[in-house]
Subunit: 348 residues, 2 copies
Amino acid sequence: MFVSKSSLETEQQHLEGFAPEVAWITKAGSSELAESIAIRPTSETIMYPTFSKWIRSHRDLPLKLNQWSNVVRWEFKDPTPFVRTREFLWQEGHTAHASEAEAKEFSLKMLDHYASIYEDLLAIPVIKGTKSKNETFAGAEQTHTLELFIDANGKAMQGATSHDLGQRFSKIFNIWYENQSKDKENVWQTCWGFTTRSIGAMVMIHGDDKGLVLPPNVAEYQVVIVPIFKQDAAQKEQINTKIEELKYLLDKKGVRYHVDNRDTYSPGWKFNHWEVKGVPLRIEIGPFDLEKNIASVYSRFNGEKKTVDWDKLGSFVPKQLKVIHNQMIRNARKMNKRIKIVDSWRKF
Amino acid sequence: MFVSKSSLETEQQHLEGFAPEVAWITKAGSSELAESIAIRPTSETIMYPTFSKWIRSHRDLPLKLNQWSNVVRWEFKDPTPFVRTREFLWQEGHTAHASEAEAKEFSLKMLDHYASIYEDLLAIPVIKGTKSKNETFAGAEQTHTLELFIDANGKAMQGATSHDLGQRFSKIFNIWYENQSKDKENVWQTCWGFTTRSIGAMVMIHGDDKGLVLPPNVAEYQVVIVPIFKQDAAQKEQINTKIEELKYLLDKKGVRYHVDNRDTYSPGWKFNHWEVKGVPLRIEIGPFDLEKNIASVYSRFNGEKKTVDWDKLGSFVPKQLKVIHNQMIRNARKMNKRIKIVDSWRKF
């Protein structure tokens, strides 16, 4: 969590980029510390001194490290939950390579990987690009970025970045390797990050006035099953047997579901509860459905309710989850039509 | 990661317990903060104000939360890697219950759970007990603990704790629920923690002069397979085919293995490499073994090497991993014979 002041100061350009946002510990208990200690805003200057000890030979390369950790940037702009917070949880990766080409290629590969997380899991379309010199990460050669468009406020949001660090850090932190001809060379590095801000984007892009709308691929529960019954014990047992059948079918298809069979709440209360939480599909089964051998299936993202033959439910559910994902990303792409490309300040 | 000063000060006894070890942030960038901010030494005063918003009715209980997080206690004693560090990663759990009996029972259940992690996963015998009033967690009614004995230095180590908090925090943080007769009552709470210190205990108890010795149930690789071959390509292919067979057998048994087929290192170098890393079993297979349809199996924890018929390898490996676990915990129990029970200071 900590970086010593001297360690943070090793790379001057890097330090200048972060200095205004660093939180400093100056006291422990009631004692003043001799040297202030920074809370990490990012981990380059913590990790790279160790890289120089670990890397000796071309056989140690590529070195690839990844961690989820929390970092602090004391933002003075308006904090927004998930999107702009002083402490945030992120995933940061750091690699060292034997050649410039390999590092450059890897930094672009990570950008593709992040794009896939947004598009294939969160149903959010992204725009890939490279930052201007002015916006490049402090100390990097090049910064690649994913940008998202938030229709709700008409703003762009940075979704993830991947940096080609070149040899700047490896020269300053003395990260050398012996190549196949026994010469010493500095490694070529990359680093890249992705944060819980992505959850904020997902909420803003897909959510509606009723609450969350979760994309099926990331929903903890893709389906909630709500039995509808009165006090009739025999009927209740029949419905529960039916639900056991359905659970078996869904398990086989790898669908994540939850059965809400709490006695203390009414079906209406439960419908609302799971709508607010954004569960993609709700399956209702009551005495009437039992009689007709059907179930009612409600799609959270568009509010449509369908009647599905019981025998078809096992194949309908996974198919419908895919349909929902595709529809959600299509809807988000439509919003992106508001984006205009300008190539001069005059046209802005 | 942060606790405001006022929030930390809410429970006086709790604050006094931690005050000497709290790290304080007083500056952000070059600005002094109006109020110092503490780095969490534990999360009660961060979580419980939210508990009071979440809990309304007996239907919301029990509430059980669990997180892995890093906390800071600015220890002025000698830091020891894993065992006593100023920042450490831990798992902390917090629950709220509708009755005192349920909370008390739950805090003991968690202690049993932790004991099982030590005994069944880490092969470390533990002693369960309850702390004296003086050593009880700041603000708790009762603190239950697991203690381990480290033969290497003759010291005891606290392995995990589980606290019965009673209603002290729920009274201070206003955590109320409506019981079935519509009366308002304060909840009964527990909290409990377990840290990466357990890894330090594992290293000290099982490790030897060659390096780590990992208990099979927590080893990332339970088996390393080292092929031994010269430059003969046909022989190499034969051995690799044999290894593919073995991988299939081990997969079926759910054994975690790694094949070290790097060309750049000698078998001797690899043996040493995986011994230092503590992999429980090493399987060597070379031309000689191929001929006789056998393999050599080396057990890291006692240095024994056995010759096993190829046809029996698939059943031998999982059985041997269990034998190793049982032997390791038995060895650790033997060390515990040095423990003497004293019931007065005079006999100490």
